[in-house]
Symmetry: D2
Amino acid sequence: MSTTTVIKSDVANPALASEGKKKIEWAARNMPVLAQIKDRFAKEKPFTGFRIAACMHVTTETANLMLALKAGGADIALCASNPLSTQDDTAAALVYEYGISVFARNAVDRDGYYKHLNSALDIKPQLVFDDGCDLVNVLHTSRTELIEGVMAGCEETTTGVIRLSQMAKDGALKFPMIAVNDTDTKHMFDNRYGTGQSTFDAIFRATNTLIAGKIVVVAGFGYCGKGVAERAKGLGAEVIVTEIDPTKALDALMQGFRVMPMTKAAAIGDLFITVTGNRDVLRDEHFRQMKDGAILANSGHFDIEIDVAWLEKNAKVKNSKMRHQTDDM
Amino acid sequence: MSTTTVIKSDVANPALASEGKKKIEWAARNMPVLAQIKDRFAKEKPFTGFRIAACMHVTTETANLMLALKAGGADIALCASNPLSTQDDTAAALVYEYGISVFARNAVDRDGYYKHLNSALDIKPQLVFDDGCDLVNVLHTSRTELIEGVMAGCEETTTGVIRLSQMAKDGALKFPMIAVNDTDTKHMFDNRYGTGQSTFDAIFRATNTLIAGKIVVVAGFGYCGKGVAERAKGLGAEVIVTEIDPTKALDALMQGFRVMPMTKAAAIGDLFITVTGNRDVLRDEHFRQMKDGAILANSGHFDIEIDVAWLEKNAKVKNSKMRHQTDDM
Amino acid sequence: MSTTTVIKSDVANPALASEGKKKIEWAARNMPVLAQIKDRFAKEKPFTGFRIAACMHVTTETANLMLALKAGGADIALCASNPLSTQDDTAAALVYEYGISVFARNAVDRDGYYKHLNSALDIKPQLVFDDGCDLVNVLHTSRTELIEGVMAGCEETTTGVIRLSQMAKDGALKFPMIAVNDTDTKHMFDNRYGTGQSTFDAIFRATNTLIAGKIVVVAGFGYCGKGVAERAKGLGAEVIVTEIDPTKALDALMQGFRVMPMTKAAAIGDLFITVTGNRDVLRDEHFRQMKDGAILANSGHFDIEIDVAWLEKNAKVKNSKMRHQTDDM
Amino acid sequence: MSTTTVIKSDVANPALASEGKKKIEWAARNMPVLAQIKDRFAKEKPFTGFRIAACMHVTTETANLMLALKAGGADIALCASNPLSTQDDTAAALVYEYGISVFARNAVDRDGYYKHLNSALDIKPQLVFDDGCDLVNVLHTSRTELIEGVMAGCEETTTGVIRLSQMAKDGALKFPMIAVNDTDTKHMFDNRYGTGQSTFDAIFRATNTLIAGKIVVVAGFGYCGKGVAERAKGLGAEVIVTEIDPTKALDALMQGFRVMPMTKAAAIGDLFITVTGNRDVLRDEHFRQMKDGAILANSGHFDIEIDVAWLEKNAKVKNSKMRHQTDDM
C-alpha cells in the first residue's frame, strides 16, 4: 500500500515500516477469529463515519485489530497504553504501510505519553478503546470538551475496570464503557494463558535464567497470577503464592502451591513476580530480607508494584542494562 | 477346573476360591504380554519336569504368572514374600481352582511366615523365584541340603538385589540369580508407575484423606520414590523429598520438589511416605518434631523404615484399627 | 454416650456402631473448621427448638455435621440422599452412640429409599437439608401438608440447584432454599478437589487398574469434571475431555487436554468417566464403538449418565460382581 | 583488564566487548560451582604450560569456563562448535576484555567455520575440548601432524560421543577422550532441563506463538526430548512423542504423552521439534501431510533433522526472515 502523506502520526522510525508489516502479517496467522470478523466488517462497513481513539499496547496483535476496524470503515487514532510495550516497527507499519494514525514511541517519558494520548483524542472520538483507563481519565479531566461527542467505549484490563467501576459508582463516568475483561474468553484465556507465557518469555529474554529448580514467588493469584504460577510450575520451579483473598489463597494451596505472606516469602525466593494490581507489593521491608541476586519482575498493568525508587536510592551499586530491560542493583 | 485333593497347601479360607478366581481373571485382562507368553509356553512346554519354588506377593498378578508357568509344564510351590499383601481369595483360588500348591495366609506371624517358606522349599526346587531374598537366604542357612539341586533363580526387587550382590561379592551365593529388577521394563514401570499409584491407593483406603493441599514428605528418590513423589504432586500436594544421594537430590530439586533433610521435614509434613530400603528412616528424633495427626506410611520392601516399636512404647494413647491397617498413636 | 431407646431409626446393623464411631472420630480430625463451629454452637445453642430433616450422603463427614447441629440444640432426622454411598457403620453409630435418628441402609431399593425420606420428614421439619432435591421434591408432592411448617432449607449439589432454580422460576418452590453449591468454598474445593480424588479412589478399589498410560475420557468440564481431568492427568493418563459448552471446552483445550465429541472419543478411550449431570451421556451409539474391556464409571449425582439398561439388554455375557461394585458386560 | 594487541582472533565486532563483558559477569552469577573451581585453579595453577584448543558454543557460560581455565594457567584458543549460537559480544569480550584467543563469528558459512577450527588448532594443543566431534575430526583428517602433541580431550554432547565411540571401536581414535555427556550431572540436567527450557526460549523469540492449546510433536525421547516434552506439557500443550526405541516410547506413554509414528503425527501437529540426533526426521512424506502454518524447529546438535533443502525447493512462496531466524515457506 502506498503511504499517504496526510496521516498524522508520531512514531520513532518510519524506516521500520516494512519489517513491522511482516510481523503484523505473521501475527495475523494466529488470529483466525479476528480474520472472520474483519471479513464481515469489510462487507458490512459498520463503522463508516465513526472516529475511534484507541489507547492500547502497540503490538502486532493490536495492529490487526486496527486493520479490522479500518476494514469496517472506521477512522482511527491509536496511542500507546504503555510506552514500554510499544513496538516501533509495528507503529511505523501502521502509519506508512496501512495509513492509520499512530502516536507511540517505545519508552517515551511521562510527558510524551500524555502528549500522545491527547494527540489521539484530537480525532474527536465517538468511540474510545482503553487499556488501563488513562485515556478515559484524560477525557474526564483535561479534555472534557470532547465528552459530549463520545457515545461509548470499552476497557481491556482488570485494573482499568476497577477504576471505571469506582467512577461509575461515584456517578463520575460520563458515557457507557464495556468491560472487555469481564468476558470469559478474555480473562480466562488472555490473562491466564497469555500473561502466563509472556511473563516467562520476558524473563527468559531479560535474564537468561533457568527456571527449573528455582523458587519462584508469585504475588497475586487472580487470573494472571494463576497463569504465572502454573507456568512457573510447568517450567520446573518450586512455586510460592502470596494472596490476601482467603478463598484464592486456599485455591492456590489446594493446587499444591506453597502459600504464605510476602514478609515470609521474601527471604526464600529466587525470582519474584508481582501481578496484583496494587502498589508497593515489594518494598523496603521485603528487599532487606532478600537473597543477594534475587530477581524481581512486575507483570501487573502499572509499573508500581515494586518500589523501584527505594532500590534506586538504597542500592550500593547499580549496573544498568546488564541485559536488555534488566538492571542490577 | 476340578480341584485335586492331593495339592499340598496352607491357605486361610478355601471358600474364597470362587471369588479369587474372578479376580484372577479380571487381572488377566490387563496382562496381554503375559497372555502371549502363556500361549507360547502352552505350546512349547519349556518347564516340563521342572520344580519351581516361588516366594512372591500372593496377588492376582502373581497368580497369572503362576498359571503361565504351569501352562509351560512347571510343578510349582508358591509362598508369600510378605504376609500383609497376601490375598486370601487369590491363594484359595490357586489351590482349589487351579491346582497349584500355595502356602500363604494374610497377616501370619514370623513363625508362620518361615514355616511357609520351608513348605515351599519342600518341593526341592530346581528353580527359585524370590522377592526380597528371604527364600534364597533360607536356602543358604537352614536348608543347605537343597542347594545342590538348585540350578538358578531370579530376584524381583531392589532390596533383594542389594542383598544378593553382597552375597555374590562375599562368594557366598551358591547358584546364579537373575536380577529382574535390573530390567528397564521392571524398574522404569513397576517401581515408578506401579508403586506410585498403589501407594496412594493404599493410603486412600487406610486413611480416607484428601491429598490436595497436604504437605507430603517422600523419603527416597529412587525409582519408587520418584513415582510416589510424582503421584503426590499429581494429586495436588506440596511435595518435599529427602534423599541422601546428591545427584538424585538435585534431580528432585530440578523437578520442582522441595528437598531437605528429614530432620527439617519432620516438623512440616502432614503425610510421610518412606521408600528408601533403609532402616529407621523415621525415628525418635523425627517423631518428637511432628505435628499431631501426622500420617506415616511405608512403601519400601521391608517393614523397617519407620521405628514402630518406639511409637508403640511412647504413644500416650493407641487407638488400634481406627480404619483398616491404620493405627492411631 | 449411652444409647436412648426411643430414637427412631432404620439402619442395617446396630452392631457396627462402635466401628462407625471410630471412623467418625477419625474424620473429625480433618474437619477443624467444623470443630470451631461446633464449639460455638455448643455455647450459643442457635438451634434449640428446631427440628431438621436432612437428606445427605450418610458418611462420616455428614455425621460430624449432624453432631455439630445437635450440639447447637437441633432435633435431627437424617436419611440418605444416595443409598449406594450409605456407610452402615456410620449410620449405626449415629443412632446408637450419638442418639440421632437415622433412616438409611446401604443399597436399599427405590421403595426403601422413599420410605426413608418419608420417615425423616415425619419429624415435621422447620429446616430441611437436601442433596439432589429429592427431599424437597417429596415435600412438594406427597407431603404437602408439611410445607407450611418449613421455614427454609439448603441444597448441596449442582444438580439439586438446577432443579430448584427451575421450581423457583415456575413459582412452584414454597419456601426459600440456600444454594450451598454456589459458595466458592463448596464448588471450588468439594467439587474440584473432592470429587477429583474420590472418583479415582472408587475406580482404584473397584477395578484395581493402573491409570498411567491409559486414555481417560472425562465427559463434562464443570467443577467436578475439571477435578477429575486434573487428577487423571496427575496419575499419568492421556486425558480427553468432552464438553458441550464452548468456553469450557476451550478452557480444557488451553490446559492441554484433548477435546472432542463423545462420538469420536468413544472408540479411543480405555476409561470413561461421566460427570455432566445429564442423562445417557454414554449410550448405544457410543457403546458400539468402544474397545473390548473399556471401563465405564459415573461420578455425576444421579445414576443416569450411562445407559446401563441398554448394556444389561445387549451384553453377550454379564459377569456380575467381578470386583466390588463392578460388573463385566 | 587491558587488552593485549598480540592476541590472535577473528571476531565480528570488537566494539561489542564491553557489552559482552557485562553479560559474562551476569552469567557468572548462576555458576557458583564453577566459581569455586576457578578459585581453586587460581591457587593451584594446574594448567600452567598447557595449551588448550576448545571448540564449543561461544556463549557467556563457555566464556566463564574459559576464564576458569585461564585462571588455572592455561593458554587457550576458542572456536565455535556452531556458528548460529555464537554471541558476537561474548566473543569480542573474551578477546578484548580478557585476552583470550577466539575465532568465531555468528553465522559464518562452512568455509569460515572450518577456517576457525584450524585457527584454534594452530595453538598446537595438548588438550582439546570438543562439542560435536568436529575439532577431533579435523585433527584426525587434515591436521594429523598435531595428533602426536595431543594428550587427551573431552567431548560434550551425545552426538559427539556417538561419533567418538565409533572411532574408538574402529581403532581410529588416536588419543583418549572423556565423554562429559556420560556424567549424570551433564545429561540429567543440561540435556533435560537446559535444552527443555532453551528450546522454548528460542521458539518464543522466533515465533511469538502461544504454546497453550497447541499440539506439539516432539521427535525423540532421549534426555533432551524428555526435557522438551515436559516443558511443552508444562506450557499447556497437548504433546505427541515419536520414538523408535520401544522402552523409551513406553516410558513416554506411561507419562501420559501420546505416542505414535511421525507418519501419523505429521498431519496432526501444530509445532514440531526434532531432537533425535538423526538425519531427515522430518522429510517429504511428512511435509506433504502437514497443516498449513505448521512450525518446524530443530533442537538436535546438527542442523540435519529437518530436510530444509526439500522445503527450499518445493515451497510455493518463501518469506525469509518473517521474524529473527524464522523463514516462512
